[in-house]
């Protein structure tokens, strides 16, 4: 019943997508608007079908219907409700279901937004591309990744989700957000392909898909950060990012998408970098498919390769088709893409964006090379190898520092050309702040050029942002006679994209500082303790109080109680554990973390009590990790701000010139900072 309903949903989705493509193609071919208007509706059919299929799966999971193979493999009677629901994305087939649901949502959102322009060939082509992507994923579920396979003799109890996936509530948020991000890039991709096919490169489509791109980017960012958080809270090795191939797979499209978000501003303002922007958005989509391939095909062994399946070749072929079509389209339209504008001087906003883009592209290349190198080596030489973390750390650190530097100066650079006076006025104070921070860091005993530079550049960037806010609000206050809070609110409302972007930059500074501190100041020690014994690591005294064994239908855990003292004050009792789940022989460590603004005490149980009652625990004193999560929160806030509609006030003309004024640089009598993106 549930299986039939699910298959029905998948089949309906596939046929909606297929029919939609045919109807739209006929409409385009015959120039009949009627067909285009009807064809658009199939997008909602895709969404409806995806909802039916997902509902069937959730129904089966919630009723523990083990006649479905997927439920039997990813659910058990003892699985708690939350992890029963999240079972939808515990495995390959289910995550493809989630994928089509999210894709259906994005396509429907876009189709609704463009409902008055359904007869526009550009929109019709974009719908065709979107539907084609949906068709591919529905076809995967009809073929090799069918989530609704049934078992002739259902087991009495299922084996439950992978142990790592039923240990932390973050699992409920990390994968869906990541999917919202990865799938969302289908929309700008579809419009980019449509623009190439129709030959209409007017900047219209960029602005029109900006919201979808930004939503996708925000979700991907938060998804990645939540993944790092989950890794920190669950995996118990003390870190949050290991340059694991699958982590890299999610980072790659993020890098190109971030580059795109920046360079698209140049195209909107100056009409430049068209080929570049199209390439970025096309490669972002290719990288999302590559991410799915790396994660789901089992070619790379990693924390995420829970399933080995035969969809690898399908995804690889799809990736090949998408990449070949993208490159072909760009070559075909290359001559028409020539930009009207050009960069006037090297010290200007547009060249800063260009440098930013080169850095992001370089970063993406470095990460891509390190990620696929083992695959290439095995394919070409038949040797198994891995690329060590030092490669990634050493190659990405200088690029990341340069990006931080660009982030500090670029928002202060005016378009077209900068004068020394403007630069001095806008950058001197923040630069002093950065320099002072470096001196203070050195005086406090920070060593390591990278860390000191990261702190200094972080302060430099932060100083610039604070200044930009202060100057903008002050100008508004003077012009309108408003109080600081009102002036700030109105200033942001008048250009949410600029100020939202700056808030995102604040989040990035938090993350950069956290990463630099973490890599410089973290102390890790393994100690062996008898009951009642204690050990001191960097001023934190850990005392072993006792251990406890708990059993439930879901798992059996051994936990040890550890009391933490620091400088005479009691920080409480923490209990890291090792759990074993029925059906698996592996033990899963659960770290216990005492979070602080400056330092986390991260405790892991390395080995449970031996015959003599001694335990081995890992004690990590991790610096400033919480700022990664705070940074993520700030980025989410900034993205929401940038998505909020612009408030136009009619009472009086804007006191300060806004983005659309193409004048070179405002006269020096007025503070020109409010000129922005």
């Amino acid at each position: 019943m549930k299986a039939s309903l699910g298959i029905l949903g998948v089949a309906l989705g596939a046929s909606s997508a297929g029919l939609g493509i045919c109807v739209l193609a006929r409409g385009l071919w015959k120039h009949e608007d009627r067909w285009l208007i009807v064809g658009r509706r199939f997008v909602f059919g895709v969404l409806g079908a995806a909802i039916v299929a997902v509902a069937a799966m959730e129904w089966a999971l919630l009723t523990h219907d083990f006649s479905l193979q997927y439920v039997a493999e990813n659910n058990a009677r003892g699985t708690p409700l939350l992890f029963t629901i999240t079972g939808l994305w515990a495995n390959l087939e289910g995550s493809i279901l989630l994928w089509v649901l999210v894709l259906g949502g994005f396509l429907a959102f876009t189709a609704h937004k463009f409902r008055h322009r359904a007869t526009d060939p550009l929109v019709a082509w974009a719908n065709i591309v979107g539907l084609a992507v949906a068709l591919f994923f529905f076809a995967l579920m009809l073929g090799p990744a069918n989530p609704f396979r049934t078992l002739s003799s259902p087991p009495l109890d299922g084996s439950g989700p992978n142990a790592l996936l039923q240990d932390h509530p973050l699992m409920a948020f990390h994968p869906p957000l990541l999917y919202l991000g990865l799938v969302g890039f289908t929309i700008p991709f579809a419009f980019a392909v449509a623009a190439l096919i129709t030959g209409r490169f007017g900047e219209g489509w960029l602005a029109d898909t900006r919201k979808a791109t930004l939503i996708a980017w925000g979700c991907l960012t938060i998804g990645i950060i939540l993944g790092a958080w989950w890794s920190y809270e669950v995996l118990g090795w003390g870190g949050f990012w290991a340059w694991d191939p699958v982590e890299n797979a999610a980072l790659l499209p993020w890098l190109t998408a971030t580059a795109f978000l920046h360079s698209v501003i140049v195209q909107e303002r100056r009409g430049m970098l068209r080929v570049w922007n199209l390439s970025l958005i096309l490669s972002t989509f290719c990288l999302t498919i590559l991410a799915t391939f790396l994660t789901r095909s089992g070619v790379l062994n990693s924390v995420h390769s829970f399933t080995v399946s035969d969809i690898g070749p399908w995804l690889l072929v799809f990736l090949g088709v998408v990449a070949a079509a993208s490159i072909g389209l760009i070559f075909w339209r290359g001559d028409r893409l020539r930009s009207p504008g050009k960069i006037d001087t090297p010290v200007s906003r547009e060249s800063a964006f260009l440098v930013n883009n080169l850095l992001f592209a370089g970063l993406a290349f470095v990460v891509l090379l390190g990620t696929v190198f083992p695959l290439l080596a095995e394919a070409l030489q038949g040797k198994q190898l891995s690329v060590g973390e030092p490669y990634f750390n050493r190659m990405t650190t200088p690029i990341a520092l340069l990006l931080l530097f660009m982030m500090a100066i670029a928002p202060a650079l005016p378009w077209r050309a900068a004068t020394a006076d403007v630069l001095r006025r806008r950058l001197l104070l923040p630069a002093y702040a950065g320099g002072a921070t470096m001196l203070i860091a050195l005086a406090l005993g920070t060593r390591g050029i990278t860390t000191v530079l990261a702190f200094g550049l972080g302060a430099f960037a932060l100083g610039g942002i604070v200044r930009q806010f202060a100057v903008g609000a002050r100008a508004r206050r003077r012009a309108e006679g408003e109080g600081w809070p009102t002036a700030t609110r109105h200033m942001i409302g008048a250009n949410p994209r600029l100020y939202g972007g700056l808030v995102v930059h604040v989040g990035i500074v938090c993350i950069a500082v956290a990463l630099a501190s973490f890599s410089a100041f973290t102390v890790r020690r393994e100690v062996s303790l008898a009951r009642g014994g204690s050990a001191t690591v960097s001023g934190y005294t850990i005392t072993y109080l006792g251990n406890k064994t708990t059993s439930s239908a879901q798992k059996r855990s051994v936990s040890v109680e550890l009391q933490i003292h620091h400088g005479g004050s009691d920080l409480g009792v923490y209990a890291p554990a090792i759990s074993t789940f029925p059906g698996t022989s592996d033990g899963i460590g659960t770290p216990s973390v005492r979070t602080g603004l400056l330092r986390d005490v991260y405790l892991t149980l390395v080995s449970s009590p031996n015959q003599k009652g001694r335990i081995t625990i890992g004690v990590d004193i991790n610096a400033m990790v919480v700022w990664l999560w705070i940074g993520g929160f700030v980025i989410a806030l900034g993205t929401l701000l940038a998505l909020s509609p612009r408030v136009r006030r009619r009472v009086r003309p804007e006191p300060a010139p806004l983005a659309d004024t193409p004048t070179p640089e405002p006269p020096p009598t007025r503070e020109p900072e409010v000129v922005g993106v």
Partner: protein, 137 residues
């Protein structure tokens, strides 16, 4: 004229920068490659003292705890190596466990390991480890 010369300088500068970046990339990449070898492959390459990952199964009854860590023998069914592990082995380290040791050959023919990875969700296990069922001795 001035413009063209400036453009040439910029182009040359960018090319030089790109070459330096690519050379740095290749050097750092080649320094950080770790090969995976089964025990027999590793034994065949004993002259190579660079760091690599050795995959095999722990020989039953060979585990001896030491003050620094643990000594044991690792086998893939064809060859056996003596491993000296510095640091505590992970919780699931036991007789017969399929493990990957990260380290290098020492002067006296033993394998100095700094890290033991167990076939476990978050650790890399090359596919070869799964095969040697014949490792029980």
């Amino acid at each position: 004229m001035r413009n063209r010369r400036r453009r040439t300088y910029i182009a040359v500068g960018m090319c030089v920068g790109a070459v330096i970046a690519i050379v740095a990339l290749i050097v750092v990449l080649s320094q950080n490659i770790q090969y995976f070898r089964t025990v027999s492959e590793a034994v065949a390459n004993r002259h190579d003292t660079s760091q690599f990952r050795m995959a095999g199964a722990v020989v039953n009854g060979s585990v001896k705890p030491t003050t620094a860590g643990v000594d044991f023998k690792l086998t893939d069914g064809k060859a056996t190596a003596e491993v000296i592990q510095h640091g505590n082995p992970p919780e699931l380290f036991k007789d017969g466990a399929p493990v990957v040791c990260v380290g290098h050959w020492s002067q006296n023919g033993t394998f100095d390991s700094d890290q033991i990875l167990i076939k476990h969700g978050n650790d890399y296990t090359p596919p070869v480890v799964k095969q040697p069922a014949a490792s029980k001795q």
